[in-house]
Amino acid sequence: MTAPADRRGTVRARPAPMRHLAPNALPVAMAVAVAVFALLEPAFLSIDNLVGIARQVAIVGIMAVCMTFVIMTGGVDLSVGPVLALAGLAAFFALDGGHPLPVVLLAGLAVGAAVGLANGLTVAVLQLPPIIVTLAMLSIARGTALIVGGPEQHLIRNEPAYSFIGTGSVLGLPFSVYVFAAVAGLMILVQRRTPLGLLVAAIGDNERAAYLSGHRIRITKTVVYVICGTGAALAGIIQSSQVHTALATYGPFGTELDVIAAVVLGGTSIMGGNGSVARTVLGVFFLGILNNGMNILNVPIDIQLIAKGAIIVVALSVAARRA
């Protein structure tokens, strides 16, 4: 945003700071982290733990992958936390009503899509600042979740099919990991192979030009938020199935920031523009590895937080330097 509004050439050509991070700094940082953890605690590299990491990042991963587009268009979605809770509740009540699994899943995802749609329309059509819109939606959605679900835990008992989503495993890998992989794959496909993907990049790069090329910016932006909401909902379904519980307070304050951090570490500029789903996946795993490694070394929470902050700053400032 600090790029001077000058004439032809000079400063506008400066690439968005984050861009150069992904290809070099992030993998390097990841390698270093892995090496350090492995040295201090060989068990870090055990198959069990690596699978564990994959399982642990699945939920944040799905949300991050789905939020990447939003951030690429210069937006942000702070409301993913409560959406996660809402979706879980919706699924629970659907199960309670004895509906078949597809209906249940649909119910959950629909809630997310609806919230996303609300966000998207407000941002794209009314053109209000995304951060405020989704901040408002954060408290609206949380309030709704608490009204709908109340404080009680809604236990999801003997629903083998539903529980399989979060707890089942195929060929030794948790099913949730497959879901994450599928979503990531799908979004990468969308980004690389569909008009939407190209359009999102175009809007982030030069919204005005995209508009003058005859594209419907508002619709695209709305869609992007819908995707984000749906992603959060899917995450919510997986979580509720993983813990056999639906609870209105799931996805507490801070969830959204973790997700955003993952996306940004992945090299997408928070100001919008150039970004990549694939690199977001990298960012997700980077944070996952940090958390897992520090847990496995039994690092106290205080040091964990400080380290996380410091590492984000270092990684990104390296990127900024490159630019």
């Binding site: 600090t2 000058d6 405020i132 609206i140 309030g143 902050g309 410091a310 990104l316």
Partner: protein, 339 residues
């Protein structure tokens, strides 16, 4: 520029809200409610005013809540573990807060990090630091020991303005919390700094037209760092007020304050695009939110519904600001008088 259309509308809305609750909510229009409002939301107002500065230079401070926590814990330690006298603690606390803010600014300026990211990182780091220095963990016995230092606890005193002025003979005047007076002080100082000092001009210029500011020889970097330092400084004051109010500090102090302060600031007409806003709006915005929460509680509206209403009001506020902007866009030539 100090009081914009938005702010004027805000005042009207504020008045309307108060009027509404005064008639609809039982026991709303009482001295004690006013006291409650002043003492429970003065520090929110201070945080909102602090937050306004990063916003004015087109930044944002997500770590403001974490700084509150950090400062609170520092006060806790100094007072209870090291038995430092309060008159030393107060400046120390302010120093810590300002330093934390300055670090944010430095990250943004020197490392060229996006403000959102830089302060997101420090949000985690400062909270972690709070845990690390937490006297509650180091000396478990202290968890049940209140802070008694007069210098600190003294902040939580109430002034019976009513009696001094003799007004209380006619009406039941609310006692004035010192924290509210402090808030007023902060407001006056910061507003003065904004509207009548060179620094204030530089802040508006930096946020309003970065390139123009640079070409005009304004030290953008310094201005930015100062803006974040001010937000840290305000966080420190807020922390002191809270500690005085609770006679202790918890590790979680200030959690979520970043978002409420941003909300209050934006409701108060501070533009996220930078360069637009003042101190008046954020302060009123904070008390508006407070009034609504208290009013709804007195009306017996369930807490959860309150969250929804708060969100809706936030939307309304930005929506209204947008409306004004659109109107200005419609007729660029008009309105060329003093605003």
């Amino acid at each position: 520029m100090t009081i914009r259309f938005a702010s004027a509308a805000l005042v009207l809305f504020f008045a309307a809200t108060i009027a509404f609750f005064s008639v609809s909510a039982p026991r709303f229009a009482t001295a004690s409610t006013v006291e409650n409002l002043m003492s429970s939301f003065s520090f929110v107002a201070i945080l909102a005013m602090g937050q306004a500065f990063p916003l004015l230079v087109r930044g944002i401070d997500l770590s403001i809540g974490a700084i509150v926590g950090l400062v609170g814990m520092v006060v806790f330690d100094l007072s209870l573990i090291f038995q430092v006298p309060g008159w030393i603690i107060l400046p120390a606390a302010l120093l810590v807060g300002t330093a934390a803010g300055a670090l944010n600014g430095a990250l943004v300026v020197c490392l060229r990090l996006q403000p959102f990211i830089a302060t997101l990182a420090t949000l985690a780091a400062y909270r972690g630091l709070t845990y690390a220095v937490s006297g509650r963990q180091l000396v478990p016995g202290l968890t049940t020991t209140p802070i008694r230092d007069p210098w600190i606890v003294g902040i939580e005193t109430y002034l019976d303005v009513g009696r001094w002025t003799g007004l209380s003979t006619f009406v039941n005047m609310p006692w004035l919390p010192l924290s509210f007076v402090i808030m007023l002080g902060v407001f006056v100082v910061l507003q003065a700094a904004l509207s009548s000092t060179r620094f204030g001009r530089d802040v508006y210029a930096t946020g309003g037209n970065h390139e123009a500011a640079r070409l005009a020889g304004i030290p953008i970097g310094t201005v930015t760092v100062c803006a974040y330092s001010i937000s840290g400084f305000c966080a420190a004051i807020a922390a002191l007020i809270m500690v005085a109010r609770f006679t202790t500090a918890t590790e979680a102090l200030g959690t979520g304050m970043e978002l409420s302060s941003i909300a209050a600031a934006v409701i108060g007409g501070v533009s996220l695009a930078g360069g637009v806003g003042a101190m008046f709006g954020p302060a009123v915005g904070a008390f508006l939110l407070g009034t609504i929460l208290i009013g709804l509680t007195l009306q017996g509206v369930p807490q959860f519904v309150q969250q929804i209403i708060t969100g809706a009001i936030l939307l309304a506020a930005v929506g209204y600001d947008r409306l004004l902007w659109l109107r200005r866009e419609r007729r660029p030539a008009a309105g060329a008088g003093p605003a």
